[in-house]
Amino acid sequence: MDVKKPIANPLIVLREEFDDWAILFDPDTGNAFGLNPTGVFIWKLLDGRHNPDDIVNRLREEADNVPEDAGEHARRFIASLEQQGLVGYEIEQGPGAGTGVRG
């Protein structure tokens, strides 16, 4: 089974602000996006070592009142980042298989 491990596009800058929100922006295009605190938490785990389930588990460890459907929210969020070219992902195809990176 493929396990997607998303990786944040290294060209994108994360600027955190005092209220725990952050701006993501691409210095080359000037395109900017606002991230809420949960989005920031997830962004920081998009390091190619965590799949969405790992990320939601980390979120449950760190935050209170994480809703039942958080996994679905997290997947949709990552998909929207991917759509905007902010995230790619690594595919592990089981032990011994090669690793591919898509984005």
Binding site: A8, P10, L11, I12, V13, L14, R15, E16, E17, F18, D19, W21, A22, I23, L24, F25, P27, G30, N31, A32, F33, G34, L35, N36, T38, G39, F41, I42, W43, K44, L45, D47, R58, L59, E61, E62, A63, D64, N65, V66, P67, A70, H73, A74, F77, S80, L81, Q84, L86
Partner: protein
């Protein structure tokens, strides 16, 4: 966790006007009267002072109906009535009937002075969903110093009460200047006691009389405005029973207040809005009263579809905004939602559509523009930091 993860993109898909490459014309702002019953010191429109003896032009109801008829196929979903003073229009009843016939919801900006109980009920019955009333002081002396007409404070309070009794809670708008800056909190308490829904604090724009007010030293400087904004948004908002909005540009607003739940997203609506002046001119907005090149045509004579789809200035704005913004606006990470705050104001000052907004330019010069909102030159170094630098503890 209070809300799911969200990534808010500034550049959203826009609906298109039917059969056209132009965006939908969502809203028309009607500057209904050339005259006004007040003579405010900070007014950016500077209409003629109207009395019983001296009357000025107002948009004829037939033309109003015709414009709405032409605008609906282009995507019109709402209308704003403003002035001069919309309630000074001699046929305001006829305009309200037309809006009701056309089933168009509308908002209104008024000084409140002429808002009788009957008129308030008619406005609500005709589909008014939002109304703002200006109060520039918590007492008659201050308000009337700003507004230039004796007795207008009590009249405005009566207007607000009439609106509340008719079932709509107005927003109070206060324009900030040296003379009234100390009355922010009393004004909030007054608004609460009147039954208002919110208070919005506006910065005086350096246009027309607003420019004179600033030149005379009665305006606040940018540092004072930023400080006042922080006090209002961070301190006063916590104790107020109603919502408070401070109209500084998006770069000065916390992200949570822009994109969060109930946030004021700050997206400039200019791409879907057109102004109609009291003489039937189509213009970028009321600025057309002062800047002839921002008047795009004449209702009745020019088809609205041609004006909206074909006017070269409107096309230039659609093609160049926000990419061509200059100065601090060009560097600003919020330009995709803010569009330089107010093109009309920027053009008025510089005769360029792409000039930066005065407030942010002054803040930048004073070293007060927030660094996190600028695409700084060291961004390339920032992005080359290893990802582990960004990892959360735990």
């Amino acid at each position: 966790m209070t809300s799911g993860p969200r990534c808010h993109d500034a550049a959203r898909e826009e609906p298109r006007a039917a059969g056209s490459s132009a965006p939908a014309l969502r809203s028309l702002y009607f500057y209904l009267t050339q005259g006004c019953n007040l003579r405010c010191r900070h007014c950016w429109l500077a209409p003629q002072f109207q009395t019983a003896a001296k009357q000025y032009a107002a948009l004829p109801p037939d033309l109003f109906r015709r414009i709405l008829g032409e605008a609906k196929p282009l995507g019109l979903s709402g209308v704003k009535l403003t002035g001069g003073e919309p309630l000074l229009h001699p046929d305001i009843g006829a305009l309200l009937e037309i809006l009701q016939d056309e089933q168009l919801r509308f908002s209104m900006e008024t000084n409140g002075v002429l808002c009788t109980p009957e008129l308030a009920r008619d406005l609500v019955r005709s589909g008014m969903h939002h109304v703002s009333v200006s109060l520039d002081g918590a007492d008659a002396q201050t308000h009337e110093w700003v507004r230039g007409v004796e007795g207008c404070f009590e009249a405005a309070l009566r207007g607000v009460r009439n609106l509340v009794a008719a079932g709509i809670r107005p927003q109070i708008i206060m324009s900030l200047m040296r003379r009234n800056a100390g009355q922010v909190e009393p004004l909030v308490r007054l608004a609460e006691s009147l039954g208002a829904s919110s208070v919005k604090f506006n910065l005086v724009q350096p246009t027309a009389r607003g420019e004179k007010l600033r030149d005379s030293g009665e305006g606040l400087d940018v540092g004072e405005m930023i400080g006042l904004g922080r006090r209002i948004e961070n301190d006063l908002a916590r104790t107020a029973k109603i919502r408070l909005f401070y109209s500084h540009p998006v770069a000065f607003r916390p992200l949570g207040r822009i994109f969060g739940e109930n946030g004021d997203c700050g997206v400039c609506g200019i791409r879907g809005v057109l102004g109609v002046l009291a003489d039937g001119s189509y213009a970028l907005c009321g600025i057309g009263e002062h800047v002839p090149e921002l008047v795009f045509g004449q209702a009745g004579r020019d088809g609205l579809a041609e004006v909206w789809g074909g006017n070269p200035v409107l096309r230039q704005i659609r093609e160049g905004m926000p990419r061509r913004l200059e100065g601090v606006c060009g560097e600003c990470l919020m330009k995709g939602v803010c569009f330089g705050s107010c093109i009309a104001q920027n053009y008025y000052r510089s005769r360029s559509l792409w000039a930066p907004f005065w407030f942010c330019e002054e803040a930048e010069k004073a070293g007060l523009f927030p660094g996190s909102r600028k695409a700084a030159t060291d961004a390339r170094q920032e992005r080359n930091r290893p990802m582990t630098d960004c990892q959360c503890a735990g």
